[in-house]
């Protein structure tokens, strides 16, 4: 039997950049085939070639052994190819049934809509993916994982036999990830071929049958998931030996820097949070999405000021009502979504770095370009930001380097407390370990670091202590070196639910 999907010698160039250099890839029916690689390795281009968004320069694509001609997004769809991305692409103001219907019914502006049929069809598809969602709900009221389920249901309804999932778990909690992985296995049972892309290696081992690693536009190799381990995969991805994924803790925690006493904010649902962070310490903040971690960071940074409790900085009670006050008090916050809230893409790196320090760095608000360039170059070399110059726009950098620019902006404020929200989300493996080293180094220099992360191995590997949040409050504080995935997940889920969850 020919494979469901077979790519042979696919090449694609953009100008002088060769994004794919003769990549071959196959997918069998009822197989989960993981695609791995650092950012820029060519994964997105490969997917775009499969979904017909890009035409390959050379090479062939065959579905069921039959070579396809020129693939366009619509012919790819008719051949049963569908893709689910990290951010669901649904219409938020329409109901679930309407969203599913729009994707499936032949688009014709004058055809009457058969509402009952549409609802029934939607309900049936949702059942197939095991989603307990009312087809009449507006999509805007659904959570992120629910929206993904709707998308999957829609592509199944369209007769998808080749399902591409691009980082489907990036914004899901551990429990939601488990549900999604279960669905992936169910779909495999139904004979769907799945191309699964993720930066989270543990998921890949959990669900994939085979793994193909891309590096610099070339396929480094395809392995059965059983015959390779995590270090082996990382070696394949980065092309070099990574001795230890997480740098060891070197610092001796010093005096308490930040202390929270029963801090809460009714508008963001955070209540009664108490903990302290010491100088030289990495305090990991774990919990499920919606547990209030980002909300807590936003309180500490004055975006949604606290309305109860006390915040003490080096023993003095402080009030933080705006980001400016937070910066002046010595608190820095590198936000979660750096593309939207961190780096200004149009602005040069140097301007991005000095953005938060204008009043102190430029007295009298006169800009000094020489001084600014010097500072930018210092951070470019300290954090090893890969850029042709300090004048290059932020948008020209890769995700990991953008994150370093965001970090530089906040380090330039000379903070006492650094809050990092998902510092390595969407960052490739190489840059991830560089960022981890930077965090360690900052802690060793005496900074108090609060690191919010949904990446459990990262929290466990990086934290001196781990605070676990649940339902808007801090429920447990664990000792970093002795904590394990199970203890963190149990705390995040609450004791009662802990039994059934394999963390």
């Amino acid at each position: 039997m020919p494979p469901l999907l077979q790519l042979s010698g696919v090449t694609k160039s953009f100008g002088a950049v060769r994004a794919l250099k003769g990549v071959s890839f196959s997918l069998a029916a009822g197989e989960v085939h993981a695609l791995l690689g650092e950012n820029g390795a060519g994964k997105s281009t490969l997917i775009k070639v499969i979904t017909g968004a890009h035409q390959p320069d050379s090479g062939t694509i065959a579905v069921d052994g039959e070579t396809t001609g020129k693939l366009t997004p619509s012919t790819a769809r008719t051949r049963g190819i569908a893709a689910i991305y990290q951010q669901p692409a649904l219409f938020p103001d329409l109901t679930v049934a309407e969203n599913i219907g729009l994707g499936l019914e032949k688009p014709s502006p004058f055809r009457p809509v058969r509402w009952a049929e549409r609802r029934a069809h939607a309900r049936e598809l949702l059942q197939r993916v095991g989603a307990n969602i009312d087809p009449e709900t507006e999509v805007r009221n659904l959570s992120m994982p629910e929206q993904q389920l709707v998308e999957i249901a829609r592509s199944l309804g369209a007769g998808a036999r080749i399902l591409i999932m691009d980082e489907p778990t990036a914004s899901l909690t551990q429990k939601e990830v488990q549900l999604l992985l279960k669905l992936v296995r169910d779909l495999r049972e139904q004979g769907v071929g799945i191309i699964y892309i993720s930066h989270r290696l543990e998921e890949i081992f959990e669900v994939a049958d085979r793994v193909t690693v891309l590096r610099d536009g070339e396929s480094v190799g395809t392995k059965s998931a059983k015959e390779i381990d995590e270090p082996g995969l990382i070696r394949m991805m980065v092309g070099r030996e990574v001795s230890s994924i997480y740098p060891p803790s070197e610092s001796q925690p010093g005096k308490p820097v930040l202390r929270l006493e029963n801090v809460g904010c009714s508008s963001s649902g955070v209540r009664g949070v108490s903990f302290e962070v010491r100088a030289g310490e990495v305090f990991g903040l774990s919990g499920l999405v919606g547990a209030g971690r980002t909300e807590l960071a936003r309180i500490l940074f004055g975006i949604t000021p606290a309305d109860s409790g006390k915040i003490l900085l080096k023993g003095d009670s402080i009030e933080i009502h705006s980001p400016r006050q937070a910066v002046e008090s010595g608190i820095a916050y590198v936000p979660e979504d750096r593309r939207r809230h961190g780096v200004v893409l149009e602005m040069p790196i140097a301007s991005n770095i000095t953005m938060a320090i204008h009043p102190s760095f430029f007295p009298g608000s006169w800009l000094r370009f020489g001084k600014e360039r010097e500072l930018a170059e210092k951070y470019i070399s300290d954090l090893q930001i890969k850029t042709p110059s300090s004048e290059a726009p932020g948008g020209s950098l890769s995700g990991g380097n953008q994150q370093k620019v965001a970090l530089s902006r906040w380090l330039a404020t000379h903070p006492k407390v650094l809050i990092l929200d998902e510092p390595t989300q969407g960052v490739d493996v190489g840059a991830k370990s560089e960022i981890h080293k930077i965090i360690r180094k900052l802690a060793a220099e005496g900074l108090a670091v609060i690191m919010i992360s949904s990446d459990l191995p990262e929290v466990l590997g990086m934290s001196d202590r781990i605070g676990v949040m649940r339902g808007g409050t801090l429920t447990r504080i664990l000792d970093g070196p002795t904590a394990d995935a199970h203890s963190v997940m149990s705390a995040a889920l609450g004791q009662d639910e802990a039994g059934g969850i394999a963390a």
Binding site: F301, P323, R324, R340, H341, G342, V344, S351, M355
Partner: protein, 310 residues
């Protein structure tokens, strides 16, 4: 080079137009002729710089023309009541700033979309003016009003000098003062700016106030070119100013633009009508040609951003 592609291409277009004129209609470059074109363009330049800042901030102001008319009338009446010219000038600027502050309060304070707010103020100011003046000109102005009381040619030079100095101050401030950087930051990404401790609402409000003040000054510099003040003055000025800004490379999506480009845009659009006359073409083509230039400029932006995405 690539960074300033848009600014340079407008300057090249302007250069080509001037070159054609130099070959086929050298009379165009007579000093009196040039002075007339430039003095007519100077008020537009100030308004265009103001609206360029507003657009960089990812807002828009279409009430400029109506503000301009009211400021012109205020200035004319103040001069008619015998106020000295420096005070008249301050009054025009101050009343413009007040109109800008009203727009800014709605846009930045209440977070309303600027297109709706300034559409409302555009109609309101214009209709209020019509109801109040009933189309009546402000006449019998003192001798010190037209051309500041100088001869025409001296007055023209003074007018250009005032506009030029204000333009240079704006260029300098946008590049060398924190506030200028904040305008770009807020226009590019207001949330990122807010997290960096910048107050996007304050920046937006200030930009609207500045827009109004510049409109006020532009109104005065325009009014002194004539012996009396027409209450219909400034009709369509918002379109001229926005067009010049867009042609000059200010991205309508905010966060990008250079005032030098705006200057080139203003001059290019201002030269078209007289150029048509000198080239003995039908002058009614002016609007169509201006429109085509705007389309071309916007298409160039669209093409560039499409190319940039791949």
């Amino acid at each position: 080079m690539k960074k300033y592609f848009r600014e340079i291409s407008v300057a090249v277009a302007l250069g080509l137009l001037l070159l054609v004129l130099a070959i086929f209609a050298p009379d165009f470059f007579k000093p009196t002729q040039l002075l007339t074109i430039l003095t007519a363009a100077a008020p537009v330049l100030l308004a265009a710089c103001g609206v360029a800042l507003v657009i960089m901030c990812r807002q828009i102001d279409i009430s400029i023309g109506s503000q301009f008319a009211l400021c012109s009338i205020f200035a004319g009446m103040a001069a008619g009541h015998g106020l000295p010219m420096p005070l008249v000038m301050l009054l025009a600027i101050f009343s413009g700033a007040l109109f800008g502050a009203i727009n800014g309060a709605f846009v930045a304070g209440l977070g309303l979309p600027s297109i709706v707010v300034t559409l409302a103020t555009m109609v309101t100011w214009r209709e209020a003016l019509r109801w109040w003046r009933e189309g009546e000109f402000v006449r019998d102005l003192p001798g010190s009003f037209q051309w500041f009381g100088f001869s025409q040619s001296t007055g023209q030079i003074v007018l250009l000098a005032v506009a030029g100095v204000v333009f240079l101050i704006l260029v300098f401030a946008l590049k060398h003062v924190s506030g200028g950087r904040f305008v770009y930051a807020v226009g590019s990404d207001a949330e990122a700016a807010r997290l960096a401790g910048i107050n996007p609402r304050l920046v937006t409000f200030c930009v609207f106030v500045l827009m109004g003040a510049l409109t006020g000054l532009a109104a005065l510099l325009n009014a002194i070119r004539f012996p009396d003040v027409d209450p219909k003055t400034g009709t369509g000025l918002e379109l001229q100013a926005i067009a010049a800004a867009v042609v000059g490379g200010v991205a309508i999506s905010g966060g990008r633009g250079k005032l030098w480009g705006v200057l080139a845009g203003v001059l290019l659009l201002a030269c078209i009508a007289p150029a048509l006359v000198f080239l003995r073409a039908e002058p009614q083509w002016e609007r169509a040609i201006q429109g085509s230039i705007i389309l071309l400029a916007v298409a160039a932006d669209g093409w560039r951003s499409r190319k940039g995405k791949i």
